[in-house]
C-alpha cells in the first residue's frame, strides 16, 4: 500500500523523485521563485508560531514571568488536566483498534452482496458531515428521556417486552404487620388461612402515582374458602385516619400486585387489587399461608440511560466517533481487499479451508499494511479530537469528556486566557506526534532512495 491513493497513471521509470537526467543548473532564483509563497506561509503561520508556542510554554499565563517547566507540571498534577490525559489515552487505546476492526468486518461483509454500493454510501456519508454537526446529531440520539432520545427509546421498547411497570415507585408499611422494603416486597407477618381477611396498609405513597381509577377503600369481606383483603393508602390528608384501619377518605390502591405464598414462602398464586383496593384468592385449601405485596409493584418505569452524564460521556462520544470513521476504514480496507488475488483465496477454499480460516490466515495477513495505515491514521485523528467533545458533551459533563485538544482550547480561549498552560498542552501534543513524524520521514527517505 502506497502512502497516497493518488498517483499519476503514467508509466514510471525509476524511483521518486525522478531527477532529470540532463539536469540543467537553474540557479537558485527560479526554484526560489516557485517556492517562495509556500515558504512564506509556512514560516509565518506554522514555523514561527510553533517556536513561539514552545517558548511561551515556559512562561506564566500572563507571560510576564519565566516559570521553566511549571506549566508542564500543572499538566500532570491538575485533576482536570489529568482527566484529559486519561481520556486521550483511552481514545488511543480503544478507538484505532475498534475502528479498524469495524472497518475490516464491514469491508469483508459488504464484498459478498450485490448492493454493496448502497451500504457503502450509507456508512460513508457521515464522513462528509462536519464533526460538529455529528455532535449535534448524537446529542439528539443520546437524550435521556426515552420519549426523546432514540437509543433510550429503543432500550425502553425492548425492556417493556420483558418487564411490566409497577404502579408505584415506592411506599412504606403503615403498621408493623408488614415487613420488608419496596425492593424485596412487603410480607404480612401474620400467617393467614381460608376465611381470613387481611389489611395491607401502605403509606409514603407519592400522590401523583395513585391511579386515577382509585376509589375509597372498602373493608374486605371474608370468603369462606378463600383469603380476602384490602391494600390501601392508610392515610388521608386532613382526615381522621388511624394506622391499620380503613377510615373514610382513604383510597384503595388498584394495580398493586398481591402474592399468596405457602408457609415456606413459595409463591402459589397472585392477583391484583381492584379499584377499591380489595382482592381475594378463592378456592384456597386449609393451611397456613402468607400474603405479600409483590416487589413488581414497585418496578420503576425505565427512565433512560444517562448517556451524556459524567460516567458514560466518553464512551458515548467514542461511539459517535466510530459511527463517523467506520466508513473511512471500510473504504480503505475495501480497496486493499480488492487487490488481494482471488486465486489465493480460491486455492485455499479448494484445499478445504473454512471461511474463518481463509479470513484469519490469508485475508488478514495480506491486509496487514492497509490495516496499519488505518490504525495509524486513527491514532493521529484521535489525538486531535476536539469538535465532538464540544458538541456532544453538555456543560455539566464537559470536564469528564475533555481531551488534550479540548482543554487546550478551553484553558486558552473560552475566557480563561491561560496562554502559558495552553502553550504547554500544545507542545505536549506535538511531542505525541513525533513518533509519527519520524515514521513519515523514514517513509519519504525510503521512497526517495
Amino acid at each position: 500500500m502506497s502512502s497516497t491513493g493518488i498517483r499519476a497513471e503514467f508509466p514510471r521509470e525509476g524511483g521518486t523523485p525522478p531527477a532529470p537526467k540532463t539536469s540543467r543548473w537553474h540557479g537558485l532564483a527560479i526554484p526560489f521563485a516557485f517556492l517562495a509563497p509556500a515558504l512564506l506561509f509556512l514560516s509565518v503561520w506554522v514555523i514561527y508560531p510553533m517556536l513561539a508556542t514552545m517558548w511561551r510554554s515556559l512562561f506564566s499565563d500572563r507571560g510576564d514571568r519565566f516559570v521553566g517547566l511549571d506549566n508542564y507540571e500543572r499538566l500532570f498534577t491538575d485533576d482536570r488536566l489529568l482527566t484529559a490525559l486519561k481520556n486521550n489515552a483511552l481514545w488511543v487505546l480503544i478507538i484505532p483498534a475498534a475502528v479498524t476492526a469495524v472497518g475490516l468486518v464491514f469491508a469483508v461483509l459488504v464484498e459478498r452482496v450485490r448492493w454493496s454500493v448502497a451500504f457503502k454510501i450509507a456508512v460513508f456519508m457521515p464522513l462528509a458531515v462536519s464533526l460538529f454537526a455529528v455532535g449535534v446529531i448524537w446529542r439528539i440520539m443520546y437524550q435521556q428521556d426515552p420519549e426523546r432520545g432514540v437509543i433510550n427509546a429503543g432500550i425502553a421498547a425492548v425492556k417493556g417486552k420483558f418487564t411490566d411497570e409497577g404502579v408505584l415507585s415506592s411506599a412504606a408499611p403503615s403498621t408493623d404487620d408488614l415487613e420488608g422494603t419496596p425492593k424485596s416486597g412487603f410480607v404480612l407477618k401474620q400467617t393467614v388461612g381460608p376465611g381470613d381477611t387481611a389489611l395491607l396498609g401502605l403509606t409514603a405513597v407519592r400522590v401523583p402515582e395513585i391511579p386515577e381509577a382509585a376509589e375509597d377503600a372498602a373493608q374486605p369481606e371474608a370468603v369462606s374458602d378463600g383469603i380476602a383483603g384490602v391494600v390501601w393508602r392508610d392515610f388521608s390528608p386532613g382526615g381522621d385516619s388511624r394506622p391499620g384501619r380503613v377510615d373514610t377518605g382513604e383510597v384503595g390502591l388498584p394495580g398493586v400486585k398481591i402474592e399468596l405464598r405457602d408457609a415456606d414462602g413459595k409463591r402459589i398464586d397472585s392477583t391484583t387489587a381492584a379499584n377499591d383496593g380489595t382482592f381475594a384468592f378463592e378456592g384456597v385449601e386449609a393451611g397456613d399461608y402468607r400474603l405479600a405485596i409483590a416487589n413488581t409493584t414497585f418496578v420503576r418505569p425505565f427512565g433512560g440511560v444517562n448517556w451524556l452524564g459524567s460516567s458514560l460521556i466518553t464512551p458515548s462520544i467514542m461511539f459517535s466517533y466510530i459511527w463517523v470513521t467506520a466508513g473511512f476504514a471500510m473504504v480503505i480496507i475495501g480497496a486493499g481487499l480488492a487487490s488481494i488475488p482471488r486465486d489465493t483465496l480460491e486455492a485455499a477454499r479448494t484445499d478445504g479451508a473454512t471461511e474463518w480460516q481463509v479470513f484469519r490466515r490469508i485475508t488478514v495477513p495480506l491486509l496487514a499494511p492497509v490495516l496499519t495505515v488505518v490504525f495509524v491514521t486513527q491514532i493521529i485523528g484521535v489525538l486531535k479530537i476536539f469538535d465532538l467533545v464540544l458538541a456532544v458533551a453538555p456543560g455539566s459533563s464537559q470536564d469528564d469528556a475533555a481531551t488534550l485538544a479540548f482543554v487546550m482550547w478551553q484553558r486558552s480561549f473560552s475566557g480563561q486566557n491561560l496562554f502559558g498552560l495552553g502553550s504547554a498542552i500544545s507542545t505536549f501534543l506535538l511531542l505525541l506526534f513525533i513518533p509519527f513524524l519520524i515514521i513519515n520521514i523514514r517513509r519519504f527517505r525510503r521512497e526517495a532512495s
Partner: protein, 299 residues
C-alpha cells in the same frame, strides 16, 4: 410401466439444473444472515442523520411533544418554517456567507501556492531540494493547536482577527504541507520525456508549469480541492479561536449548544443545512472524494 416412466422422467430431466438450483438456494440461504446484518447496520447508520433532518422540519411545539420518530410517518407535521426562520436570521446567513468566502479562498489559494512549490520540488534541480521536501513532510503533522496562541496575538496586532482573510491565510498555511506532499508525488509521475521535449522546445519554467503540469495534474488537484472544501467548511476550532462576529457556520452555531433542547428549532436546521453542502459535494464528486480521502490518510 410406472416405474419405467419415472425412470425416463428422471433420465430425461436436465440433471444439471436440478443440481444447479439446490446449491444456489443453499448459497442464497447461507448468505441471508449477511444480507440481514448489512441491512440492519445500514439502517442503523442512517438513523442519526435522519433524526436530525426530521427534527429540523418539525415545529418547536412538535419537537417538545416527543421524539422525532413519532413524526417520521406524519408528513402533515412537517414544515419548512424553521428553515425560513433560519434564512431570516441574520446571524446565520452571515455565518454561511463567511463560510462560503473562507472555503473558496482557502481552497484556491493553497492549491495555487502548493502547485508552484510542488513543481519546483518535483522537476527543478537545485541544492537542498530534498531538505525542503523533508521540511514539508515534517510539518505535515504539526497540530493547529501549536499555532493558535501566537497567531491569535499576531492577528490582534495586525487587525486580522475576526476577518475573512485572516481565516483564509491560516487555513492556507496549514493546508500546504499536505497539498505540497500530494502534488509533488503526483507531478513527479509525469513522464520525463514530455517534460524534456517541452524544455528542448525552449519552454520556460512558467510555461511548463501552466501548459504541462497543471493540465496533467488536474485529477490530483481535483481530489485536493474536494478534500480542502470539506475540511475548511467543516472546521470548528480555527473559526472559534480566530473570529468572533465573523465566525463561519460551525463555530457560529456552537454557541447555541448552551441552551440545547430549548432551541432545537434553530440548532437542528442550522446543523443540517451546514451538512448539506458537504453532502452535495460528496454526492457529486464521490470518486474524487474517496481518492482524496485515501490520499489524506497520511495527514
Amino acid at each position: 410401466m410406472e416405474a419405467a416412466t419415472a425412470e425416463t422422467r428422471t433420465a430425461g430431466q436436465p440433471v444439471v439444473i436440478e443440481e444447479g438450483i439446490a446449491p444456489k438456494l443453499v448459497r442464497a440461504l447461507g448468505k441471508a444472515p449477511v444480507h440481514l446484518v448489512l441491512v440492519l447496520l445500514g439502517i442503523f447508520w442512517l438513523i442519526p442523520t435522519t433524526g436530525l433532518f426530521i427534527t429540523s422540519i418539525l415545529q418547536a411545539s412538535d419537537q417538545a411533544k416527543g421524539g422525532w420518530w413519532n413524526f417520521f410517518a406524519k408528513p402533515s407535521a412537517w414544515t419548512l418554517e424553521n428553515y425560513r426562520n433560519m434564512f431570516d436570521n441574520e446571524g446565520i446567513t452571515h455565518a454561511l456567507w463567511v463560510t462560503t468566502q473562507v472555503t473558496i479562498g482557502a481552497t484556491i489559494l493553497p492549491i495555487m501556492v502548493a502547485a508552484l512549490a510542488a513543481y519546483a520540488l518535483a522537476w527543478i534541480e537545485f541544492p537542498g531540494r530534498d531538505w525542503v521536501f523533508l521540511l514539508v513532510v515534517g510539518l505535515l503533522l504539526v497540530p493547529v493547536q501549536m499555532a493558535l496562541i501566537p497567531i491569535f496575538r499576531l492577528y490582534n496586532t495586525f487587525s486580522l482577527y475576526d476577518t475573512v482573510p485572516g481565516l483564509i491565510l491560516f487555513h492556507t498555511a496549514f493546508a500546504l504541507p499536505f497539498a505540497i506532499f500530494l502534488l509533488r508525488n503526483f507531478f513527479s509521475g509525469i513522464p520525463r520525456d514530455l517534460m524534456e521535449a517541452a524544455r528542448i522546445d525552449g519552454a520556460s519554467e512558467i510555461r511548463l508549469f501552466f501548459k504541462v503540469i497543471l493540465p496533467l495534474g488536474l485529477p490530483a488537484i481535483a481530489s485536493l480541492a474536494i478534500f480542502q472544501v470539506l475540511f475548511v467548511w467543516n472546521d470548528l476550532l480555527i473559526g472559534l479561536v480566530l473570529a468572533q462576529a465573523n465566525q463561519p457556520i460551525a463555530p457560529a452555531i456552537a454557541s447555541q449548544l448552551r441552551q440545547f433542547g430549548s432551541n432545537l428549532d434553530v440548532l437542528a436546521p442550522a446543523s443540517f443545512f451546514s451538512a448539506v453542502i458537504p453532502l452535495l459535494v460528496f454526492a457529486m464528486f464521490q470518486r474524487y472524494f474517496v481518492q482524496g480521502l485515501l490520499a489524506g490518510s497520511v495527514k
